[in-house]
């Protein structure tokens, strides 16, 4: 009960911070936006080896790109708060320690879903056609992935000493993940070995599933595999993130 109230307090505080800041809505959104606007039109005439339009393939990929970039770098904000002493100040209150993590994570989920809606709307302008239930299910994937990555990012941020150290780890993990999960072009275009490697990346299953639901296919193995991979990834990230977050307190 107190965990819920405390999480609400922290969530409110950081949501208001996001709404105050003019840059925060654009933060993390620029790159996916550019890919959508400047890379998307290149694909319209190509054969991607998948059913559906190129937009039904690209938009889900761009949503996961947004989530991956936006989610994995949220720890930077925590690092700033740590160096200002804000985190320590809050920790010398009875607040539930997990609320400091969950409240912020929840804010990130809301922010990334809102940004995703904007990207989908831009996609519609550019030529995306997708059924509403499919888009909504896609946003659920975004929400779960956002929560997972953001919790992990905060866990990392509690355990590094500097911004460069954080950026180095986040980039080293984030870039290969982004390329290997076939966000921009589907992995079935890849040579066998690359496709094989990407099968070890949970995000790939999430993207493939989102592409299915954007085409209106809800009940098939790809969607089930995507949902399962996303759930397992989220559980692992939340567990790891909270452990790291608490360990980093010393």
């Amino acid at each position: 009960m107190t965990l819920l109230t405390d999480t609400g307090t922290i969530f409110g505080r950081y949501l208001r911070a996001t709404l105050r800041s003019k840059t925060s809505l654009v933060f993390g959104m620029l790159q996916p936006l550019l890919f959508l606007a400047l890379f998307g039109p290149l694909l319209t005439g190509l054969d991607l080896g998948v059913s559906g339009s190129s937009w039904q393939t690209l938009v889900p990929g761009v949503l996961v790109q947004l989530t991956l970039l936006g989610g994995s770098f949220v720890g930077l904000g925590l690092l700033v708060d740590r160096s200002l002493g804000v985190i320590d100040r809050m920790r010398v209150t009875p607040v539930h320690p997990m609320a400091l993590l969950l409240g912020r994570t929840l804010r990130d989920v809301v922010q990334l879903v809102a940004q995703s809606v904007l990207l989908v709307l831009l996609g519609l302008l550019l030529g995306l056609r997708a059924p509403l239930p499919g888009v909504l299910i896609g946003l659920v994937f975004v929400a779960v992935l956002a929560g997972a990555l953001s919790a992990l990012s905060y866990g990392l941020a509690m355990n590094v000493r500097s911004t460069p150290e954080f950026a180095a780890v986040a980039n080293t993990v984030g870039m290969p993940l982004m390329l290997l999960s076939g966000l921009l072009l589907p992995m079935n275009l890849a040579p066998g070995w690359l496709n094989g490697v990407s099968l070890a990346i949970p995000l790939r299953y999430a993207v493939d599933a989102m592409r299915e639901v954007f085409q209106g296919h809800y009940l098939n193995g790809t969607v089930a595999a995507g949902a399962a991979a996303t759930a397992v990834l989220a559980a692992a990230c939340l567990f790891g993130g909270t452990r790291l977050f608490q360990r980093g307190h010393a």
Partner: protein, 261 residues
């Protein structure tokens, strides 16, 4: 009158940091008793272990050894109950520059489990008391050094703490703001009945504010007493300066220390 009631009771407190370069013994065994209503000056040269000790006593840093009881609660067994009863203003302050003054105060109240209405009321009350009323809607980045310190202390007082820990509260303040802060610390004791533990490098300040002074060096307590007491024992008489006593205690007197060029 009954015997003074101890509100802080520390025995054998130690903290060692394990670094790749080897262990750092920041605190090597501190015994300390502070009675209710006391203002305790916690002095010592840079790196003596003052901040490390305060971070342990405020539950932020697990001790390597020893035990402590704060406001009647065991530090190790009952950290949440300790947090309910203390306030802490760190060396780095802990303000979010983009956050407004009111919002900082109300959030702090909420974190101390006040209802929304109680938190808002407490924020107004503290703002009135600490001269922050006109600043309530400013972002904290737009406050002067003295105003920031007042807000930081207000945040530490939200829960009407039994013990307030202040780490270098007047560093970087002009003489006027420092004097204001001294008054504030005395008022906190007089009006809120709080016990105050503060660190400082200004010996005139320690002299003016503290009922009792504890000097630490290299993680150990090397002297303890009232300001007058320390001056008499270490600098020849109550008319001497605390500065002389401090230099004699910590062995950093200008006489026997070669000046590095």
């Amino acid at each position: 009158m009954s015997a003074p009631e101890p509100v802080i009771h520390v025995r054998g407190l130690t903290r060692t940091f394990q670094l790749k370069s080897g262990p750092v013994h920041a605190v090597r065994g501190i015994d300390l008793t502070v009675v209710r209503g006391e203002i305790l000056g916690f002095l010592g040269p840079n790196g003596a272990g003052k901040t490390t000790t305060l971070r342990m006593l405020t539950t932020l840093l697990p001790p390597s050894g020893g035990r402590a009881e704060i406001a009647g609660r065991d530090l190790l067994r009952d950290p949440v109950e300790v947090r309910r009863r203390i306030g802490y203003v760190a060396q780095s302050g802990g303000l979010d520059p983009a956050c407004g003054v009111r919002e900082e105060l109300v959030t702090q109240g909420r974190l101390h489990r006040l209802t929304k209405a109680e938190a808002r009321e407490r924020a107004e009350e503290l703002a009135r008391d600490l001269g922050l009323l006109d600043l309530m809607d400013r972002p904290t980045a737009a406050l002067s050094g003295g105003q920031r310190r007042r807000l930081e202390i207000a945040l530490g007082l939200v829960n009407r703490p039994e013990v307030l820990f202040l780490d270098e509260p007047t560093t970087g303040l002009d003489p006027g703001s420092r004097a204001e802060l001294w008054d504030l610390v005395r008022r906190v004791r007089a009006e809120h009945g709080a016990t105050v533990v503060l660190t400082t490098h200004y010996l005139d300040e320690a002299d003016a504010l503290s009922d009792r002074i504890v000097v630490v060096d290299s993680g150990r307590i090397v002297a303890e007493g009232t300001p007058a007491d320390l001056k008499t024992r270490f600098a020849g008489g109550p008319a001497a300066s605390l500065q002389d006593a401090f230099l004699a205690i910590t062995g950093r007197s200008t006489a026997d220390e070669p000046i590095a060029i």
